[in-house]
Symmetry: C2
Subunit: 702 residues, 2 copies
């Protein structure tokens, strides 16, 4: 097969080899630019004289092709693919071996003990992952002479969730339209689908939910299943299975039934038949993701049933197949007296043990909704009999869209490494998710994708790192944020050490900087509507928990949401060891303070400052720190592609402008409550509350 | 300036020169691939040894750069740019000369009489257009030794209208998101903005309305004007001025006034101040486009004023500046007894002479709404004292979106060449528009753009030809559809004669084929909602004129809308010579029959067939003709880039499937009225009316 005709990556790669600039970001971290160090290149070339593989499957064929593509770029020559190494040495051998010592099916081992570099796994997919791992070694200039690399994924289902709609829009998407061209499918196959699959496979992502959780029933029609199947055909050679978000009342909407009651026999039959139809079109279909009785979406509760009834009905439909149900725990009621923080726990904990064994309950990392910093969801650790999946948000809904540079690995890690204490010390969220704590049979992690049709995939070029980091952590959550950042920078931006250090430093600090100017000290959700503008003053909405004031509770006495025993007592959902850390306002770590306490404005904090002064310090320092990011970025100019440099420089300018806007909006709004001046050395905002409101109002105009 | 660092075109160009395939369409018709005929290349090179220009303006600099870029690709060498030719010969000289014999400012002359090729114009912009004309000569392999080319635009304002929204969506866009990245502007400048400007300048397009006519007031805020100004800065060096669609009640929405009454002094002052603010940010701002009192949009009639009052108020605000008002005539009332066909004429004709001299009334080509075939709007020719602009729709709202291949030049030409007879024979629509008939001081033509963020710009690669054709006709409406098609194919797809012929043949027939399977014999508007599916049965809507049955009037006696004296008498809006052609059902040309007549099902037509049989013949022949397009396209495979070939092949398959769907939907719906069988030799549809309805209903699911 003529790979040359198939891959856009390659052409741009050849271009880049020749000219070395004009990087529009399309190639992501799979750049495969020619290695400039001739000695190193020659050394690699000596170990890569052929690729031996019995490519009897689509996945192995992908592995061999990718290796050839990568080596063509990195080494500047075409390494032949042969069926078997025979007595030849100095090559790369890809082999599937059921007996290889790996903890699971998808693990791989790369060795160079004898005459060849050998990539071995129990499965074709494992070989593919090993191939990308070997390429990563070359991309990051690691030696391969005595390579002995071995890795297995800690979580079985590693998935992207696309909140993509039928009309091409993406809910909370900031990088263009949906990648999936529904009106052209199945006849027209965008070459980009393959590049999407390659990028995911390079990280070990093995599943993708292609449509929004606010799902359309369209996807379950014969017309659309054909389109979905066409995508599945492109993804299959990269070990990626397709999943669908389903609209719970679909049996009514498109099935003509009078009910969608999960206990109704006709409804059960409809789902069983529909599932059969899906598997006929997509034999390796992954399963269903469901948002039900959540934010207005219908669900089993409409029929007096519970979440387990709904999930189990779908699981039964999947019984004959290797598919699963991912049932989301993102639920809360429009009750002004309730604390949204507590809702998921209250609705789900008592269902533990009631779910079919094919069901995973998918839980957002925090109890509210993907805030820049949240405590972990109290569901983690509290459903020992029910596999819980982690749902992270890669797309920056609350993290600055495509204009703020926020590296999310530290956020992901912070949650994963937090100790729930549910089975004593060391019961981290990661150990809940990877199944090691409760012995879950199914383990899963999902990231709400930040990809779109923009040439750069992610809008902000630096947001590619978040897709990358999610994937790497989904595979191995013990990797450090720094390791992942350095890998990504080296593969994607520059190999020059000083620049790598500078960029890694920006990245590792970026999330805390964002929190500082956006929601410091445990503030949250100062948005309504499209989430594009600061609106901490918003007190009008169709639901109380969709206002901003619901979350921060600012009043003349102080600021913050009392979730201790004197307040909503949400803290009671955590184990005593966790509760203890947070329930005392005197000792509660500052990043969580206002999550759990209503604190008087003039209260002295551990820093020696009053709450008001501390708030001001955070907001001003955060906004100023974006200035620091700009300065640091300016220094790496000589090491970065000019187009990419200009792109990021522009976005940093927007970020700086908006950081000051966030700071001003919050402080000008809170100041009349606190009745305090902006403390020295900070200069008071140059505008009024009316000014910042007027700016926010622009985003309400159609 | 290092152009290498700035242009994406060039890099892909170099790539293409080297490798010659993987065409993703981004370069449009400005491919500049290396000329393979060495003798020809050398001949060109002898005439292009230098580029001499006194590049004292941004536009001249663009001209020189484009010429250098083009020659670098076509000739494979970098031609130096020098300030003056002096005594040198064998080069290309760009000169501005106020005394050159051209009918208008933007015309150019290219000569090679003496020692150099000279491109001369009265203005910098004219030189830029001449430069692209010279490049086009080279791209289409024309000789330049004794070149003597001279051309002037027949219309002054040649514009694209973008129906782009603030949230990145495009109303009736089928090629991705908006090109304009509002959340990143003004700090981040997408390199694509420049490539957009280059493409337009190559056609002579000199204005762009960047936002939807269903306008947001956002664009008039200081925040957004900064963003608009950033775009204007990119477009200015290519002779392109920016215009804004304005929301008529903006003085209320963002100005805090209590009214938007155009005669209110505060309102007038608000617009005057706002206009001043705009010109401060964008000194060459083009003006305003307005959709008012149309499809629910507010307007002057809300205050008891008329369209002239509204337009003139804006014109007065523009008085100190070189800007104009384009006021749309697309109006109709939700009156079940009225004929929408007549509405624009009725509302506007009596206002002739009442408009400020800075106002142009912008009229859609037909009286309804961009149907695949419409009679010309009766307004053309009937407002001799008011400049009328032509509004064509390039985006394929009613022409198959991004999956049907329809070359629109024949549609544009058909309208432009129709004789209105308003000043005797030869009073074509084109002569109304270009001002020659009534001596309009202002002349304008607008095309509703089909561009979007998709890599190929237009979704369907063949739809690029419609952008191209609109631009070329806007410059010179006397060019033939075939000339334009062949130019575009040669520059964009292939230079191989046989393939050029085959593709040109498909293109020239494609619009009639679409009409045949979509709306033959003068049918129209079989849509509701998103326009994605055939719904001739639709009789439910918030307005009678938003149903499908309003337009086709099918009943047990026959089909079609009686617009003769026995019906709505819309024909009375035309001159007698025009009326005569259409008012007699016996002699009315078949393409217009059902536009003007309610025809009995069994009526014998001029073809010898009954209406029903003729309808069937058209629908079946149309759908079968897409099969013919597929066969023809298959033959050009060896001459076409493989990625592009596969892309179009896929879309043709979709088109064929959908053509049959359209055919079946119409005929299965009409058959119970006609009570006639599908005549031989056609096979009756393989599905039922319920089947085609079910398919259409999918597009109603969210």
């Amino acid at each position: 097969m003529n790979f040359l005709k198939r891959s856009r990556f390659l052409f741009i790669l050849l271009l880049s080899v020749t000219y070395g600039y004009a990087d529009d970001g399309y190639r992501l971290w799979l750049k495969y630019d020619l290695i400039r160090d001739v000695a190193k290149r020659d050394a690699y070339a000596r170990s890569a004289q052929f690729i031996a593989v019995n490519a009897n499957s689509l996945v192995l064929k992908s592995a061999a092709e990718e290796l050839q593509t990568g080596l063509r770029g990195l080494l500047g020559k075409t390494v032949p693919i042969i069926a078997t190494a025979g007595s030849r040495s100095g090559g790369i051998v890809l082999t599937v071996n059921k007996n290889v010592a790996q903890p699971n099916e998808e693990g791989y081992a790369i060795t160079n003990r004898s005459t060849n570099i050998t990539i071995t796994s129990k499965t074709d997919a494992g070989v593919l992952y090993g191939t990308f791992a070997l390429l990563r070694q070359l991309q990051t200039a690691q030696p391969v002479e005595r390579i002995a690399l071995s890795s297995s994924p800690k979580i079985r289902y590693r998935m992207l969730n696309h909140w993509d709609n039928t009309n091409g829009t993406i809910e909370r998407g900031y990088a263009g339209e949906s990648l999936w061209k529904w009106f052209e499918l199945p006849e027209t196959i965008d070459p980009r689908y393959k590049d999407y699959a390659r990028a995911n496979a390079s990280l070990g992502i093995n599943g993708t939910v292609i449509n929004n959780v606010n799902a359309s029933a369209r996807f379950l029609t014969a017309e659309y299943l054909e389109k979905v199947a066409a995508l599945a055909n492109v993804f299959r050679p990269y070990g990626i299975r397709v999943y669908l978000s389903v609209y719970f009342p679909a049996p009514k909407t498109i099935g003509g039934l009078k009910t969608a009651d999960p206990l109704d026999p006709d409804v059960k039959k409809w789902w069983a038949d529909k599932t059969k139809e899906i598997y006929k079109a997509i034999p390796d279909f992954g399963g269903f993701l469901v948002k039900a009785n959540s934010e207005g979406e219908p669900g089993p509760q409409d029929y007096g049933r519970d979440h387990a009834d709904g999930a189990n009905m779908l699981a039964e439909a999947l019984a004959p197949y290797d598919g699963i149900v991912l049932w989301r725990a993102f639920v809360y009621k429009a009750d002004p007296k309730a604390d949204r923080f507590k809702a998921a726990y209250e609705e789900f904990k008592h269902l533990d043990g009631k779910f079919n064994k094919k069901v995973i309950v998918q839980v957002k990392n925090g109890p509210i909704d993907f805030q820049p910093r949240e405590p972990f969801s109290p569901l983690f650790g509290n459903m020992p009999k029910t596999p819980l999946a982690m749902e992270f948000q890669i797309t920056q809904e609350y993290m600055g869209f495509a204009t703020h540079w926020v590296y999310e690995a530290p956020l992901f890690k912070e949650c994963l490494e937090t100790d729930t204490y549910v089975a004593g010390k060391g019961s981290t969220v990661a150990r809940v998710i990877d199944g090691s704590l409760h012995g879950y049979q199914l383990t899963a992690i999902a990231g709400v994708a930040n990809t779109g049709s923009d040439r750069s995939w992610t809008g902000h070029p630096m947001a590619q790192a978040n897709w990358y980091a999610f994937g790497r952590l989904a595979w191995d959550h013990t990797l450090s944020s720094e390791t992942i950042a350095r890998e990504w920078i080296t593969m994607t931006l520059t190999k020059e050490t000083k620049a790598v250090n500078t960029i890694a430093d920006i990245m590792l600090k970026s999330r805390n900087i964002y929190v500082q100017y956006n929601t410091p000290l445990g503030l949250s959700r100062p948005w309504t509507g499209a989430h594009f503008a600061p609106e901490p003053w918003q007190n009008q909405s169709s639901r109380p928990d969709w206002t901003a004031v619901y979350y921060h509770r600012a009043d003349s006495t102080g600021l913050g949401f009392d979730r201790t025993a004197t307040g909503s007592n949400a803290l009671a959902q955590y184990r005593p060891e966790v509760r203890q850390q947070w329930e005392n306002a005197e000792t509660c770590p500052l990043p969580y303070l206002l999550w759990f306490h209503h604190v008087p404005w003039m209260k002295k904090l551990s820093t020696g400052r009053t709450l008001w002064d501390e708030l001001c310090t955070h907001f001003y320092t955060g906004a100023d720190s974006v200035g620091w990011m700009q300065q640091q970025w300016a220094q790496v100019k000589p090491s970065i592609d000019p187009e990419l440099f200009a792109n990021v420089t522009g976005r940093l300018a927007t970020q700086h402008k908006e950081a000051i806007w966030w700071r001003d909006a919050w402080l000008l709004y809170l100041q009349p409550f606190a009745r305090q001046p902006i403390p020295a050395p900070f200069k008071k905002p140059e505008r009024t509350l009316e000014d910042v409101k007027r700016l926010a109002d622009i985003y309400r105009l159609r």
